[in-house]
Symmetry: C2
Subunit: 266 residues, 2 copies
């Protein structure tokens, strides 16, 4: 089984687990991690354990990087086979959300690059998949980014992230907030990134995103035609703990980087 | 039939219309209003026409204020019977959204106050209703606001609205953005307001909201225990074109007003 088929199969099975957990979310055990805003449910842990088990059975020598349970360490050899897992991105929305804006993310990397990845949005019955240089799909239908060419007409998604990154984000993004056509924040990076991939948003901005958040969804967006860089315009490193991220339909990328570069500390 | 029962009945019927329109949204006719960000679909017009027809049949002497089709004028006698309709709040999300974060809003006012109101979120199969001084429900189950007592632990929803109000919003809300536990923006006021009512968010902020956006959902939130004021702490007028709005679970209201009052122009 190819890694992409493996991802598709496991997302299908874990989507069912996640949907069942979501249906009984008010009775789930919820704890906090770094602070009161950083939630962890028993569903995050169960889904991650299921995905880790499946990878270790199918690909026992591969490195695994995942959000929970002490698996956050990046490999020393970044050219070797490595998996990135976020069992539930958007746990706050899972626990406290009128709309289920959360997803499951799995990416496979080799030779230093994400080779394939998938994001499931179980409550939308939607799975997005991408294989490097072979395009991206949503429920097996090809997807592509939007064609909006001016920031003033664009939907920009700014992820405000944790309070500790807020000053940095505002320093870079104040004029962008003033000039974007509309502004959204789903509070779930995979949802914001997949919105760019499907053409539902035109840009997504984050001051520092962990690799399990972006590894699959950035590949999906890029394969749908998106342009991704850090705030300074350089490439987004896959093996880094919290690179900044600007991802757009390509047409408004320069305009957004100009706003970000206009910040007082640049 | 009471006005509340009338609202419940019409929301049920128009939810079906809206769901059917949403299912074929890629083939709907979409035009723009004030600018390229201000979308109007044939579904907005059809649903509004259905609601207006029903009100005119049942209550032929009542004034109607609605978002579309030249019905935006407020009545001169604000103590008389008046209805506020938003056929689809969150039209951008209806047209361009991975998640269907849009809703239908109807409120009935008399003697200067909203007396009852309802918001349907058709793709969530959820209808929120409230009768003045008799509490609020979601699918007939009583709802109440959250109990989070510190802004640092709170989910604050800031609606960035139109570009023209962005400078004003940032002037008031920069320290609030820095200090809130999490920040969201659904880009649909009724969804943000209903999130406060159900306890899924702890606060919602808007620099200037039209009455058809807030008449029903503010009543629902207040009846669920929320506190609502303008930025300066005064009451939110029902018959005004664009009052500012701070609505919270009550516990963090003072903390948020202090941040808003800290703005340079106050």
């Amino acid at each position: 089984m190819s890694e992409l088929a493996f991802i598709q199969d496991i997302l299908r099975r874990q989507s069912t687990v996640a949907r069942n957990a979501y249906a009984r979310r008010t009775s789930l055990h919820v704890s906090t991690k770094v602070d009161a805003n950083d939630l962890l449910t028993e569903a995050d842990l169960a889904i991650q354990a299921n995905i880790v088990d499946a990878i270790q059975t199918a690909f026992p020598d591969d490195h695994i990087v995942a959000e929970e349970d002490g698996l956050t360490t990046l490999p020393t050899d970044t050219t070797s086979r490595c998996w990135f897992i976020d069992p539930i991105d958007g746990t706050q929305n899972f626990v406290r959300g009128l709309f289920p804006a959360w997803g499951i993310s799995i990416a496979f990397a080799n030779e230093g690059h994400a080779q394939c990845g998938g994001v499931a949005l179980p409550e939308r019955d939607l799975t997005l998949l991408a294989q490097r240089q072979q395009g991206a799909t949503a429920n097996e239908v090809p997807i592509s980014v939007s064609t909006i060419a001016k920031l003033a007409n664009a939907r920009t998604e700014i992820d405000f992230g944790h309070r500790t990154s807020r000053d940095d984000l505002l320093a870079h993004c104040t004029t962008l907030i003033q000039e974007s056509g509309q502004l959204r924040c789903h509070c779930a990076a995979v949802v914001g990134l997949c919105s760019v991939a499907t053409g539902d948003a035109d840009a997504f901005i984050h001051a520092g995103l962990t690799p399990w958040d972006h590894a699959a969804a950035v590949l999906i967006a890029e394969e749908a035609g998106a342009t991704a860089t850090q705030f300074d315009g350089s490439a987004v490193p896959l093996f880094a703990q919290a690179p900044s991220l600007v991802i757009t339909n390509g047409l408004i990328h320069g305009e957004i980087l100009a706003h970000i570069g206009r910040s007082p500390d640049k």
